[in-house]
């Protein structure tokens, strides 16, 4: 006898209008390791709209961090290595330059992780302020890792490389945030750019105060 009546809840899957996201090539189980890295970089650079439209909002922060680390670590180390002769021309001794290089070599993974957490945290804070945090922090972190990781290879180019990577990364982050959090371009741009501008202004103010304190201390001598 069927005991289901009109009053009883019927177990069924919740209606999800969005088709499941496939994830970037890097997170696919099959395929060659280097091919997956390459295809993800190409995807981020050439078709970020499609890549971020397919980016899953869950799946952990380790796979995107690993992708970011794989691209950014060698690039930062290579950039530092290329800059060594310039540092030595500017007065650093060979020993100092080598110590700096090994510090960069071993501490970069830690700094990259901290930087990514801070960057994603700032963006997510902006999303919460502007009412765009439709999905948890993990989704914002994943966007940041792929956005900045996809252009991190530019850090290998000394001086201008890191600047171009930073600006391009911001553009990609705005696209990614809009796609993953399902918000408008304006909201995404405000959530990414305004916290960043506040931090830059704070840093400039602290720098100016610090510089004026040093100048005052030296002038009183």
């Amino acid at each position: 006898m069927n005991e289901t009546t009109d009053q009883e809840p019927i177990d069924q899957e919740p209606f999800d209008p969005e088709p499941p996201r496939e994830g970037p090539p890097w997170e696919q189980a099959d395929g060659d390791f280097f091919a997956r890295v390459w295809q993800t970089i190409v995807g981020v650079v050439s078709d970020p709209m499609e890549l971020f439209a397919q980016l899953r909002r869950e799946g952990g922060i380790f796979p995107p961090y690993l992708f970011y680390l794989l691209i950014a670590w060698p690039a930062v180390v290579l950039g530092t290595l290329l800059q060594l002769p310039f540092d030595m021309m500017m007065g650093s001794s060979g020993g100092e330059a080598m110590i700096m290089f090994f510090v960069v070599l071993f501490l970069t993974p830690v700094f990259l992780f901290i930087g990514l957490i801070i960057s994603a945290g700032l963006t997510h804070l902006g999303l919460m302020v502007f009412g765009g945090a439709n999905h948890p922090f993990e989704a914002t972190f994943r966007v940041n890792a792929y956005a900045y990781g996809g252009v991190a290879w530019l850090n290998a180019v000394p001086f201008c490389g890191s600047t171009i990577a930073f600006i391009w990364g911001i553009v990609l982050e705005i696209i990614g945030v809009a796609k993953v959090q399902e918000i408008s371009t304006g909201k995404a741009a405000a959530a990414v750019l305004i916290p960043l501008a506040v931090v830059i202004v704070l840093f400039v103010c602290i720098g100016l105060i610090f510089a004026s304190v040093i100048v005052a201390a030296f002038s009183s001598l």
């Binding site: 709209m49 000394p158 201008c160 696209i175 371009t185 304006g186 750019l193 830059i200 400039v204």
Partner: protein, 137 residues
Amino acid sequence: MKVSLQRPSAFDWELLGLAMFAFLAPILVVWIKILAWPIPNGHSRLLWDFPCPLCGGTRSLELLMSGNWQAAVAMNPMVTLLVSAFLLWMPYAAVVLWRQWPRLRIIGWTTRSIRWAMLLVFLIVLANWAYIWQMGI
């Protein structure tokens, strides 16, 4: 491949461009004009005695900011033309955003046309690099 007028649906590139300008331009103006901080120089010529494709880029930007367009082009044509094109594009972006008009879009990109476009960009960078090398900038 053709230029078409379209309603913004997926992503508003005009808004993104203006937002990036509103973010970067004050930084540049405060850095160069108000604080008068030095701009980090590229060291390609210093180290290897040959310029990089962006050599003279910041100097051309400074010349452009002081209204000296000709000198800016002579310093680095590619950077000057890119920045000038962006500055010309901005009023269009502002107007279509304000009036909510359809946007100019190049549609129907094929693999062949993407390859040609990439080749064109590569040739422009190469020509600019050759010019900088020749002029000793």
